[in-house]
Structures are given as structure tokens and as C-alpha cells.
Amino acid sequence: MRKIITVFKWEINKLFSSWKRTVTLFLLPAILLMAALNIFPLLINYMSTGSISKHQVTVVAAPASFRKYVEENVDARVFDYDFITYKEFSEMTEDRESFRKQIRKGMLVCYFASGDASKDFDQVVSEYYEEVSAGNRSAISDATIFVGYDENSITSEARAEQFIEGILKKYQDGLIDTLGGDYSVVGSSLFETDTFNPVTDFEDYRTVANTAAARVVPGVLLIMMYYCVYSLVSDMFASERDRGFMAKLLMTPVKPKHIYAGKILAINVIVSAATYVTMLLLFFSSWINRSNDAMSLLPFGMMLTPSELLIVVFAVPVTVLLMTAVCISTVFQLERMQDITVNLQLPLIFFLGDFFLQMVRGTRPVTMEYFIPLHNTLALIAETFMAQNKAWHVILIYLLNLGLALLILRVTFRKEERK
């Protein structure tokens, strides 16, 4: 046991002997990932609209009530408003191509129609309420708000949805109070629900953020883990064997098993720590990202309950051990350095693929997936973020991965001893 710790300390010290290496391993990938996750939505925005500032909404014939709402509401400032009249709008649409181009660039059009050219939107609504309170049950309002967006772009559609849900609906709900006149007391809702409830707000944020995180975070963590394991195994096993240092180590009166165990322990501790740093950075980046853009990968408010956090935290070293076992087995089986690197890099491509798959996939995993080593960790972390984790999944995945890792290591070292 002491020997294992000696080897472990040696490896850790080696890593920390150069701050450059430490930074490269611990911070650089994490920071790069965080930057990528934050820049990604900006990039998408920029590429689709040509600007990274707020999104423009062209408001045609805005009634006074809407202007007032936009001015008074903080939430409404997410968008940039350009108020124009009917006349200006018809001039704008004359040139069909240039109008299309603007729409393609991500512009939304919010068109207030009253159904009667002589009347304003506000007028139509208040007249409607007057009729209703006068007892006319069959009163109809022609007031309509059209929201125009690019039919051929998912981004544009998502943004329109954001505009309608976040701003227009609230504005519409408030109309009864601002324009309802006598009817506002009887007709509007009798009670309010959660107008101020920080606890539920917090939970709602978490719901949105964790749903997004379940698509992104598991893949990111797995890529990160494999990347670190791969570089450490090639350094601690493959390169050392190539340079002959491993032979020197094996000449010492320490059981090879213990030397390997020390190295594996070092790899596990380092990689787990690096992964936790990444997790922490992802967490921060979620809490910094207040923009909650339609395309954000990690919207505001990612949160795990302590038990969920524990599941993820323990899944990391288990998976790292399995990855280490796979890499070590490759290193011991092959001789040529270039074969080893190609073989070690190949799974990285798989993880990348798995990451993209998880991003686009909307379905829950089928039972079989919990039995596929490595991939099951991704499923586990994803469902933990969705708070859908089941105890038997956790136990199965931990035991399966751990058992497989130990089996691979055992077989590998047995073979090595026999050589």
C-alpha cells in the first residue's frame, strides 16, 4: 500500500512540477469548453443575423398601450424595437426581395391589426370591453397581433416563440386591466398565481436550464474525461515504456501490480479533479448567462440537488477507471507508438459523436443503453440532470463499469506478467 502511494505521489508531483502542464490539463480544456459554450449561441446568432446585439422586432402600428408596456417592463428589453406606421411598413414590403432578406437576417415583425382602418388597436379592445360589460355576450373583438418570422429558419421560429410567450402574452393578459374599464374588476382573473415566489421561480429556471444541460453537459464531461485519460495514459504508460523508464521502475523491488495501481490512482485523481473543475465552470457559466437566448446551450439557472450531484460526482471516477482500463489495455497490447495513439484517439471520435447525438436526441434512453459501458455514463448523467434518475440505473451503471474496468485491468496485467 505504501508503495502504491509512493508511485502515486511521484506521478502527481511530476504533473505539478511544471505549472504549464498543470494549467494545460486542469484549466485550459475547461476554460476552452466554457468559452465555446458561451460563444456558440453568439456565433449562431451572428451567423444567422449578422449581429450579436439584441434582436430586432419591427412593430407596425403599435398602440399606445404596447409602447407603454415596453417602456415599463424590464423583461421586454430583451428585444430591440423599431416602431413604424402602416404606411412605412407597406413601403418596406414593396421591395419583396429586400424585405425577405431582412426577415432572413432574423428580424421579427409584430403587426397590430384592428380589423377597422379607422380605429386603433387600443380602441377596438376597449370598445369590446365596453360591450361586454354592457351585457353583450356575443361581442367579438377583431384586434389581432400578427407575429411574422422566417418560415425556413428554426432559430427565427424559436425567437418568435420567445417573443410571443415572454412578451406578447403578458402584454395581452394585462390588456383587461389597462383597457378593460369597468369590466376589469369582474372580468379579470380572481386571483394571481406565483406573482412573487422566488422558490418556484428558482425551480422553473432550473427546469429550463437542466433540460438544456442534459443535452450538453454529459457529452462535454465525457469528452473532457476521455481526453485527459488518453493524454495521461499515453504519457504515464506508453511514453514511459518507450523511453525505457517503465523498465527501470519494474526493476525495483515493488510488485508491478503496485506500480500500475499507483499510476492508475494518480490518473483517476487528476482526471476526476479536472472534470470537477469543468463541472464547476459549467455551473458558473450557466449562472452568469442571463441572456437566456433561444439557442443558449446552458441557460440561466443550472442546479442539481445534493443527491443528484453525488450521483454525478461518483460516476466520474468510476468512468475514468473504465476509460483508463481501456487505454491501458490498448497500450499493453500494441507495440508501435503510432498504433497506440491511433487506437487511443479513436474512442474520442466516438465520444464526440455521442455528444452530438445527445444534443439532437429528444428521446429517453432504451433499457439496453444502461448496459452499454461508457455510453451508459452519458445516459446516467443526462437523466440525473433531468432528475429522472432511478436507483437501479445508478447501481447497475456503477457496478457494471467498475466490474468491467477491473476485469480488463486484471486480464491485461495477467497477460503482461506471462510475457
Partner: protein, 779 residues
Amino acid sequence: MESTRGLKAIIGNFFRKKGQMGAQASSATFLVTVCFVIALACAAASFVIWWFPYHLFSDEVYNVVVVNAPESFVQFNEDTQKYRDMEAREYGDRYNYFANWEHMTHFEYSYDGYGWTEFIYKETDARYDFVTFGEWMRDNDAYLTVVFPADFDEQIKARQEGLTEDKPEVLTYYRTNSLEYSDMKNEFIDEYLEYYQSSIRAEYGITVTSVSDSQIVHDPIPTIDEDDDRFTIGANLNRTFVPILLFIVLLYASMSTGTNVIAGQKERGTFTGILLTPMPRQHIALGYLTGVVLKAIIPAAVIALIASILTFRFNIFCFLAILVYLLVLEIFIASITILISVINDTVVSAQTAFLPVFLILVSVCVTCIQSVSERSDFYLYLPVHGQFYGIGDALNGSVDAAGLAASSILTLTLTAIIMIITVKLLYHERYTVSIDTITEKEIRESRNGGKPSFLTKLNKATDNFSFVITEVFYPLVVLSFYQFVAMIPVVISYMRKAEWSSYIQDLANVGSVKDIINKTFEIIGIFFKDPLYLTLMTVGYIAIILTYIFHAGRVWKIKGFKKKSAAVGYPLSSGKHIAKHYFLGLIIGFAMLSATVGVMYLTGQISFDGFNLNSASIGVFALNLLMWVPQGASEEIMFRGYMITAFSRRYKKAIGVAVSAVLFSAFHSLNKGYTPLASVNLALIAVLFALIYLLTDDIWMTSAIHTAWNLTQGNIYGLQVSGNNAANSVIKTFYYNSSSALITGGDFGPEGGLAVTAVAVVCLVIVALLLVRKKRKAK
């Protein structure tokens, strides 16, 4: 060119078989590959799977806790019960999904759980007590708590009768252990509570249950003509998947060969042999570049060929365009790998360095996945983007000649720059024999001892900066950490109290920073009467002191505790000495504050109104007294014992005193009723304490003064301590209405007024004189 033979030899060397043919696969990698293939198949299956994944469900809950349920709601629930029973009968046994197979294939979470919802009624006044609500939900298998105001029905009635405009507010809390409950909560609000509202309306005889004053219409605007582009799956794949695949193949192939060549040879030591041949270095670089390009382009070209045949409209012209795009892209990627290979000494480090490039390029690919209409034309002319779009377009049968030319020229220009850098580096010892050396110029400069380089200056500046930042933020972090930790149990204990709800409700109206500070101090004022808070804070302050003592030694070990303690101003040498200093300090502190109070009394600002203490509050009073001891000590260790020592070790002592005074003042200024005078006074007091520290060489005395000051102020005279209202005092003091805030400090407490200024200045003069005398004596 005579040495083109060498160039050819280097390129040829890439294709010569070395030992065995091709790469070997290990069984572990094979296993991983199989796993991922199965995983992919499973993921694909999950989209079309027809059986119900029963194992994914079964622990969901459907009950609802209703707090302070108004009679009308209870009645409404009873009325709806029969519908729920009906539904539940239809769906059968709750947990036996197989029994109701036909429903389960399209199972979804539903807010009323297919009729299984039961309502559990509870009562409490604490509307924000989410802890208790959580317990209730757990105990009763509920996913939701709905909290009504206690007088809900009365409020509704009052509003309907026009007595008030206010609407009652219903609060909801839901379980955290599945995100599905979030949707279920929303459904419950939108549907069930909406029905409930209609039922109340019906009671009041309002028949219109819904109004529709306006409608919102989605109006998707087509931006491209339908026949412009066929949105077939194949065309989309050609624009997304195939280019990404080609990129990954190129990147991967270049990485495995490119990083191996120069870095690998350096690692094996065979690179010098090549360097010493009469080959110009640009030929060496070019040879390797061409080798990597040729080796990587072959698999990519094969895939491109297969892909373009699979489009069923194979066009040789388009295929050639794809080849050109691939070739240009590969030359670019290969030049990057060669550059990285030259910079690094080992294969592993080269590959590690290449990985970010790999990931960045793949991310760029992902950002490129968008419809033709959305992308701007100029991306066609850019490197990487241009190739990505170009390949996609060419696969779909259209080639933009201008884009092809422009992106290729741009990319090749970039490549040329990279290659020039690479060749330059190949003349550098650092990258040929991997040894760092310095030039004659640098030696001359260092010998002259001349001006330090920009880098050294920068290092020094950042060093100072980081020192100051660390020292300044250390107290802040330590203090907030322990105070925060001590606060948690107190806040949780208050969460369950009814009166707390109103404080949370008030938070909704908090706008400015001033509001927040006032509210915070109001709340802390309540805490100050709470034994739990006082005890925890006492423990917290002791923890701060210990943190500092251990921090002084930089190592968390009990060993050498005495030495470490002395380093932060608490020499533990002689008990008598400590007692003397501490006792003297208590007296001085008491005297100083009494003098302040005296000034205020004499100028007619305050008056005393007898004794305040009664037997009931004596316990809390004692705890309060106990808390001031570590409180004073912890602040002294932060600002005096630790900070002044740390700063004077590096800079002059005066800087240490100044910095600690400014920070001390800033720390205490963030209080209710702040005035600029308060900052000045606090700084004066800080300087005074610092001088006493220098005079006595330890902080026993200042700790005692600090403690005595706060204690006398808060618990004897009953004044505010820097805005904090201490609760239990011996004497009841009140301000005259005519009192001048300039002298008394107003809401901030005496520290904000001139009375303290006067006392502090007098003391400062005395201590300064003593210090001068001590220095003279020492000489």
C-alpha cells in the same frame, strides 16, 4: 532544383511500409467500437420503439398538498372527485402498467395523474416555508403544494363587492425530483385552477368565463421560393453530415500522421540526421506537408466519391470541385499539424496540442449547419466555412466558381503564412535540438544590468497586483464564508416562522442597493435577539480567528501553533502579560466610548431613560456579551494582526497601516445610514488601533478595546454599532428629536458623528506621542 530528389524521398517515405502493414487495432478499442455501434443502434431505436419503457416510470407521484384551503376549494375538489374516480377506473391499477396496455403506449405525465390525484389539506401561516412544504410533499406522495392566503374567500368576496382592488395571491411549490413536475405544475395552474376560478365566478353569477380581447397569430413568412431548393433528406445530409464526416476524416488522418512526423522523429532522435542532409529546410517542411496531405486525402477522396455516387446524380465536374475543396482544406490542416509538430518535442504533446484545433474546427463545422437561405454569401469565400459550404453545395450539384477560387486562395495564403513560420522555426535551436538558448544580445543586456525587460516589469506588476488582491480579498472571503455558514441554520429556522413570510414578501419591492442594505440590517436586527444566531456567530468568529492563525503558517497543522499565533499578533508567551494588556484594553475601550457618549450628553443630544435589562432577556444579553469577544478579536486579527504584518513584510509599514485603515473603513461603511463622515471616522479609528498595535506589539489590547467599544456601545448604552441595532442594553438611551445627526451620526450610530471624531483625534494624538517616546527610548 537539384534537391527535389530529397523532397521526393521524404514524400515517398510516407508510403513505404514500415514493419507490418497499416495500423493495428487493439481488442479494447474494438470493444469500445462495438459498444458505440450498439449505442447508436439503441439511440436510433429509441425514436421508433413501440413498447412502453415501463422501467422509466413507476415512482412518480400525483397527490397535491393544499395549504389553508378555502372552503370553496375544498368544495370544488369534492365536486370534481367523481370525474377523477371515473378516469381512475378507466385506467385501472396505478402501478400495473401492463393492465392498461393500450393507454400506456402513449403515456405522458398528467397533472391529475389519470384520476389518481388526492388532495391533502394542511394549515400554516408561513407561506414561504418551502422546507416544511417539501416534507409534506414527501410524506404524502404529493408533487405540488398550493398555498392559499388564510382569508382567500373573504378577499375574493371583498373584491367582487368592490371593496378592494387587490387580488389574493396563490403560491405553488413543486417537487424537485423530476423535471416533469414543472410541466405538471403549469398544467395544474392553467387547467385545474382555471376551472376552480370559473366555479367561483359561477357562484357570483358571472357567466362570462373567458374573454378574448385580442388574438395572437403566428405568421410564418416564406423567405425562399419553394422550387428554389428541394428540402429532401439527402440534400440536407449532403450539407451537414457528409461535410462533417469529411472534415473529421481529414483532421483525424492528418493528426495521426502529421503530429508523428517531426515531433516523433525528434522524440526518437532521428530528426538531426535529416536536418544535417544538404536539403533546404523549406524542402524538409514541404516534403512532410505533401506526405501528410497525400496520406490523408486518399480516405477522404474515397468517402467523397462514395457520397457523390450515392446522390444518384454524379457529376464529374462537381466531384472535381469537391476534390479541390478537400485538397485545399487538407493542405491547410496539414500545415497546422506540421507547425504543431515542429513546436512540440514529443508525439504526445503534439497530439495534445492539436486536439484543441481539432475541436475548434469541428465546432466551426457544427456552426456551419444551417439552411442555405440563412447563411450569408460571404461565408462561401472564407477559409474552412467556404470549404464546408462548398462541399455541401457541390454534393447537391452546384458549384460556385467564385467561392471556390476565393476560399481556396484565402486558405492557401493562410497555409503559406503558416508554412513560412514553420520554416523559420526550423532554423531555431529550440525547435531542432529542443534546447532553450539565449542570444548574445540578451546576455549583453543582462550583464549591463541595464533596464529590465518588459516581461520582468510586467511580471513584477502582476505580482504586486495579485498580492494586493489576495490580501484584500482574503478577509472578505473568510468573513463572508463563516458568516454565511453561521447564517444558514438561522435562516432555515426562521423559514418556518409565520412572520418571516412578510419579510420575503417585502423583498418583492426591493429595488435600490440602499433598500437591500436597509432590509438586510432590519433582518439582522431580528437575528441579534436570537440565541441561536448569537451562538453560531460566536463560533463563526472563533473559526475566523483560527483560520487566520493557521493561514499565517500556510500549513494547516497544529504544530507550531504558538509561533503562528504570534505571527498574527497574538503572542501566547506570558499569561500575565496578556491579562494586563487585555484588561487595560477593556478599560480604555469603555472609557473611549463613555467619552463619546459624554460629548453627546454634554452637547445635549441624548438622554438616559433608566435601566432596560430584565430577567427574561438576561440570557440573550450574556450571549451577546460573549459574542463581542471573538467578534472584536476576529476583526483585529484580520485588519491589524494579519494585514499590517503581511503588507509591511513586502512594502513599508505605513502602507500596511493605510491599506488596513481604508479597508476597515470600507468594510464597515456598507451599513444603514451611511455618511461620508462615517468613513473618515472609521479610518481614524483604524489608524488609532494600528498605532496601538505598533505600540504594544500585539493585538491583545486592541482586541479588548474593540470588544469593549462595541459592547459598551450596543449593550450598555444601547446605541447602534455601525448601523447594527444591538438589542439588549443595560441603559436605555434615547436621542432628542432636536439632536443633530452631524454629532450623533444618526442612523449609522456614533461612528458616523463628530463626537467620535473628537474622541478619536484626542486618542490618536496621545498614542502618537507615546509611540514617539517609545522609539526614542529604543534608540
